[in-house]
Symmetry: C2
Subunit: 263 residues, 2 copies
């Protein structure tokens, strides 16, 4: 099943828009994991077992593995999700973007090596750099549009013909790059106005929405601004707010319920 | 010595602006290397030994190692350069860009894990995402400005207040982000007009210029458009044109000489 089909199934059958970001900092996870051979995988495994019933997907952030040479932990984590919880797709958050020959290697990284179902990419270098990802019909390509950080205004808000740059990205994604219907857009929860403006022009293209929790995004505003008329169309990510919670299971369930209140 | 100091020394003392891109595709390198435990490192070592006297720096592209799980080969390659050819700095071509906490992990990846002297980054997410890199005073941060690929026009050429987006990136880099004087800009050799326009506003900020060779960039036009008045200010990269040449040493020497003809 493609990424899109899997997510849509989870939205409906499990009634959840929650994505858990698997971004374990080896210096912040509990000491009992740090002594193990695969500390990040061991930590992730417990998070996954505690949260699986409440999520529509998982999103490991590759920097937390690459930064400390624990690629093996990332491989084990994604394998574990596929084997233990088939039907929950995985987004590799890597924000890649490079010329064609290099992009092919990143495609290999995300989909052959790590067996992710989807990958995040940066659009600054243009459509030809996204093409190797978009060609993977059953995989999804998640393009940065309006990100959740304060500095997003620096380039993304610059106005071109009366419209900010992020709206041009949204238009190109909708009208030029989405022939395989396998695109999603990253739009942060910290900017509900922007979520609304973008939703108005992109139809039912799903959002990946970070920025809830540690980054200060408001769940009610984000959900009301970003969902499609059927109350889906969003993958709402929480990382630190769930993985470092006293009880990750309760944290994931609470976020699911809070989101569902406003759908 | 900082990245900038090392490069300037090589420009003058070794009279070269050449950078060799260490982008070995495990399926394209000669068969004799493929059987070894560290095939990419073994291949790179021969390239480095053949070209060191002609280069001002090396630039491994991380995708070629990440795509096939050969991170160890990248570590060995950078260590080898530092130990055998001290004074030749290393650019890790990774085009990273992410929110602060994640960017910190990418800083760790580039500078602690791989011991690179410099890293390429993508500016789409804004200044706060570059900050963790810029804070590393002795390291250099190389920001994508006008890239060498055809799709660069898609976003980078969009006009804001009469100036294309890439000129806004160049201005921000020059006026806001460069307080530690450790920024360079990526501007492709395939667009000499753009090289010239950007050079006019950024003073002596150096360029990292890909696009020579396989991508079709013209050496004469690029050098005349991009160098500073003293005939330096550019790091001109060639990857496939040198690493897959029949004699990489001759290929590197020829490129150095061709560039020097027009400085």
């Amino acid at each position: 099943m493609s990424f899109m089909e899997q997510v849509k199934k989870r939205w409906v059958e499990n009634n959840t828009l929650v994505c858990v970001g698997l971004d374990p900092d080896v210096e912040k996870i509990p000491a009992k994991y740090r002594e193990l051979e695969n500390p990040l995988f061991a930590f992730n495994k417990d998070i996954i077992d505690a949260t699986a019933q409440y999520v529509c997907c998982y999103k490991p952030q590759i920097a937390y593995y690459n930064g400390v040479g624990l690629e093996r932990d990332l491989e084990l984590t994604i394998n574990y999700i596929h084997e233990s919880y088939p039907g929950i797709p995985v987004i590799l958050d890597a924000k890649r973007g490079d010329i064609g020959s290099t992009a092919q290697m990143y495609v290999k990284e995300a989909f052959t090596r790590y067996k992710a179902d989807s990958v995040t990419v940066n659009p600054y270098m243009g459509g030809d750099t996204l093409e190797p990802f978009l060609e993977q019909k059953d995989k999804a390509t998640i393009i940065l549009c309006r990100t959740s950080n304060p500095g997003a205004v620096d380039l993304q808000d610059l106005e071109i013909d009366g419209k900010p740059l992020y709206m041009h990205v949204a238009s190109k994604a909708t009208n030029s790059w989405n022939r395989n219907k396998n695109i999603l857009l990253v739009v942060g929860a910290t900017y509900p106005e922007e979520l609304k403006k973008i939703r108005e022009v992109i139809g039912d293209i799903p959002f990946l929405t970070p920025g809830i929790g540690a980054q200060g995004g408001d769940v009610e505003k984000a959900v009301k601004a970003g969902t499609t008329p059927d109350g889906t169309g969003m993958i709402i990510n929480s990382s630190r707010g769930i993985i470092y919670a006293e009880d990750p299971s309760i944290a994931a369930k609470s976020l699911r319920d809070e989101i569902n209140l406003y759908r």
